[in-house]
Amino acid sequence: MIEIKDLHKSYKMGSNSLHVLKGINFSVEEGELVAIMGSSGSGKSTLLNILGMLDVLDEGSYTLDGVPIKDLNETKAAQYRNKFLGFVFQSFNLINYKSAMENVALPLYYQKVGRKERQEKALKYLEQVGLREWADHLPSELSGGQKQRVAIARAMAAEPKVLLADEPTGALDSTTSYEVMDLIQKINDAGNTILIVTHEPDIADMCKRIVHLKDGVIVEDKKITQVRASQYV
């Protein structure tokens, strides 16, 4: 599904150049649930941004579902993001003047899906995350966990190839975190490919594979036995 070869990325900070990713080789099969771990500054968010086409790579190659991702202009990148990727952010990033349902329907709107169908699909995904009856509420009327579940529903709505989650539990307490992880595991069980950036070991343990980043290189890449989140809920 994801194929990365010899990926380099550096940021220019004034006259200094900060070499963040120093040759990453990395691939993800369909249906995997991968945790990317590392201390702050290890380059894990940069990697996720490149995977999410929010940032461009300097060197190396990136193939997503057989499509080489390179030389994208903004319009093309937006199209690919819409078609291939779903994002879940640490700070939820819901649009605060739109209701839960409208938020979920947004990616479908960009796909030019008709209004009725959009609403039906949005309700279906809200149902999946257990927030059907909150469909008309604004994000400000939802709790943190609920917001993140709406965000997950939104990420799933466009039926992306890969779900990218950047610290999805970073702003939540542990009980809510486990609820969210439970949801993510269920989505993964349904066959979706998911990448999670996290620095919390217990969250990482709930994935099927952990990739450790340190100073811009992968130091460890191991498959693990998944800890089901449902037992904590």
Partner: protein, 419 residues
């Protein structure tokens, strides 16, 4: 462009901060209001002045004699001369494109002595000897009877058309004037018609106190022979009297043995030139109104642009999210521009409507408090309103353009990092 969701979004954004939206809209509202009111005031003034000219044929000049200022062909300078009927014929024959050439004679004058008598009533009136054409050059409405006709001229009939003012001073209220006789400088004339002239100039009273009699009768009754006091000459609609007048002077100079370079011998007043000068003034006023109005509007538009920049700044994160979710940058740009155009047009329409209301009020007060001199029916045409709308549309587009550009200039990744 016309999809429901986009409009919903525009409304959501604009109604999200009512106070700010209204303050911003006020700038545009005010600009267009001033533009409309200025144009309407200019139009009102123009209407006022135009009606001062009344329905007088404006393509007209008046010509009279003054003393010669140069000696010529043995004749001394300072010689007095009068126009003759021969001059009138010569002008008619030699100068084409003239519609009316009316020779006129006149008795009495402003503050003259009493010259008209009827029974025991007397009055001082202007008495004109005229041809029937004069009614086309100096229009009046015949309130009873008829005006002078060619048969009166040919038969040198002693008939008179009197103004309503004359009737009021010589007749009792309700007394029939037609068929009665009045004595003008001792000569009896039968009244065949009465007239009223329209004017909202200061002389409205004065011009009702005139008496018109046939030119030929005038000449005979008051011993004028073939003398012509002065002339009113009107050119055809497709030519200008201002261009033709030199030809006319040349004919007169030849006929009267006046030195060709003697510019002072023939006096004239060119109504057309005067009229055009006034029209030119209104053109200038219109430009000033547009200039001032558009400048005021411009400051409103800059306000819109400013607010849109702030809106974009505020929504940077949201725009980042939307781009991460896969919204096309063009769609974001279009969204911002449409918000700007929508805001501009709505506030502009409010300005136009309110301007129309102000104009209505002015008209209402003008109507209820009686006319004010030189100011009639201020209004703006549909064309002006359409033009204003086009100006609004373009300025909305311009106002939205820079903010829209700045909205998609930020990379989504940077936008997302913003807190």
């Amino acid at each position: 462009m016309f999809n429901k969701d986009r409009w919903k979004e525009i409304l959501e954004v604009l109604t999200g901060n009512w106070f700010r939206t209204i303050l911003t809209a006020f700038g545009v509202f005010w600009g267009i209001l001033i533009l409309i009111v200025l144009l309407a005031a200019g139009k009102g003034l123009e209407n006022g002045i135009r009606s001062n000219f009344g329905d007088i044929a404006t393509n007209t000049m008046f010509m009279w004699t003054q003393g010669t200022s140069m000696a010529y062909k043995g004749l001394p300078k300072g010689r007095r001369f009068t126009f003759k009927l021969g001059d009138v014929d010569a002008i008619r024959q030699k100068v084409p494109d003239l519609r009316f050439v009316s020779p006129r004679n006149q008795l009495g004058g402003f503050n003259g002595t009493n010259n008209v008598v009827r029974g025991i009533k007397t009055g001082a009136f202007n008495v004109y000897g005229d041809y029937p054409d004069i009614i086309n050059q100096d229009p009046m409405s015949i309130t009873s009877g008829r005006f002078i006709n060619q048969l009166d001229i040919d038969g040198k009939r002693k008939v008179a058309v009197i103004g309503e003012g004359v009737r009021a001073s010589l007749y009792d209220v309700g007394e029939e004037a037609i068929g009665t006789y009045i004595k003008i400088q001792g000569v009896n004339f039968m009244v065949v018609g009465t007239y009223r002239k329209n004017s909202n100039d200061g002389n409205a009273e004065e011009i009702q106190k005139e008496i018109f009699i046939p030119f030929t009768s005038f000449s005979q009754a008051f011993n004028q022979a073939d003398k012509v006091g002065w002339m009113a000459i009107t050119a055809n609609d497709d030519s200008s009297i201002t261009q033709l007048k030199e030809q006319i002077f040349t004919v007169v100079r030849e006929n009267q043995k006046i030195h060709p370079q003697d510019l002072r011998a023939v006096g004239h007043f060119d109504l057309f030139e005067e009229f055009n000068r006034v029209l030119g003034l209104f053109k200038a006023m219109r430009w000033i109104a547009y200039f001032v109005g558009v400048l005021v509007l411009l400051s409103g538009v800059i306000g819109v642009s400013n607010i849109m920049l702030i809106v974009v700044k505020e929504r940077t994160k949201e725009i980042g999210i939307r781009r991460a979710l896969g919204e096309n940058p063009w769609s974001i740009k279009l969204q911002i521009i449409m918000e700007s155009i929508f805001l501009t047009i709505i506030s502009g329409m409010a300005g136009i409507s309110f301007g129309a209301f102000v104009i209505y009020l002015i008209n209402y007060f003008l109507a209820s408090n009686g006319p004010i001199e030189m100011f009639i029916n201020p209004s703006v045409g549909l064309g002006v309103v359409l033009l204003a709308l086009i100006i609004l549309m373009v300025s909305g587009l311009l106002a939205g353009f820079i903010p829209a550009q700045s909205a998609i200039k930020i990379k989504p990744i940077e936008a997302l990092r913003m807190e």
